[in-house]
């Protein structure tokens, strides 16, 4: 199901790069905090 305002954000688990390390993260790990999830077309592009 697509994300909608007022509804629980769809959970996902994936690998991420953070502070020099590659680790597995889930959106659910961040319950209790505000989260900004930012999609963008790709690394090494211009904007």
């Amino acid at each position: 199901m697509n994300a909608r305002v007022g509804k629980v954000a769809p959970n996902f688990t994936t690998r991420a790069f953070h502070k020099g390390e590659i680790k597995e993260i889930s959106l659910e790990d961040y319950r209790g905090k505000w989260v900004v999830l930012c999609f963008y077309p790709g690394d090494f592009t211009f904007v």
């Binding site: 305002v5 996902f12 994936t14 953070h18 961040y30 319950r31 505000w34 900004v36 930012c38």
Partner: protein, 142 residues
């Protein structure tokens, strides 16, 4: 992005693209660390195959990339705001900050936040008596 300001508001940032975690690492090392002291401070997630983008309605299967989508998620995990742009134009984080401050104000006080609100400006307390009387409390020009 004004990451220190977001941190002050208790906000975690997760960026997502279809690049692998290794590409994120190299991009950070080769380029971004030359634009931002200490490199990228936030979490760079990998969406190879576009499954996450598909869940959020921002995966473009023709281009094979996630388009610019920004989702503001509250501490309960609920999406409070979203913005989606086509690729040529970047975002403006001033509006993102304003929205976070407005939602945090609402969640802390129960007050509602009029159009164009900025921190420190007046808000409204919803009540039966307020119906039809918003004009006494709030004028768009003030």
């Amino acid at each position: 992005m004004s990451y220190p300001e977001l941190q002050k508001l208790g906000v975690e940032v997760i960026s997502v693209s279809v690049d692998s975690p290794f590409v994120h690492k190299i991009w950070n090392e080769q380029e971004l660390s030359k634009m931002v002291d200490g490199g990228v401070p936030f979490i760079m997630a990998s969406d190879m195959g576009g499954k996450i983008g598909s869940l959020y309605g921002v995966y473009d299967d023709e281009g094979g990339v996630d388009i610019r989508g920004r989702f503001l998620i509250d501490p309960e995990g609920v999406v409070q705001a979203m913005e989606v742009l086509t690729p040529p134009v970047g975002r403006n984080d001033a509006e993102l900050l304003r929205q976070i401050q407005a939602f945090q104000h609402h969640q802390a006080t129960g007050e509602v936040v009029p159009a164009g609100w900025q921190p420190g400006k007046s808000t409204l307390k919803p009540s039966t008596a307020l119906a039809g009387n918003v004009w006494k409390e709030w004028q768009p020009k003030k």
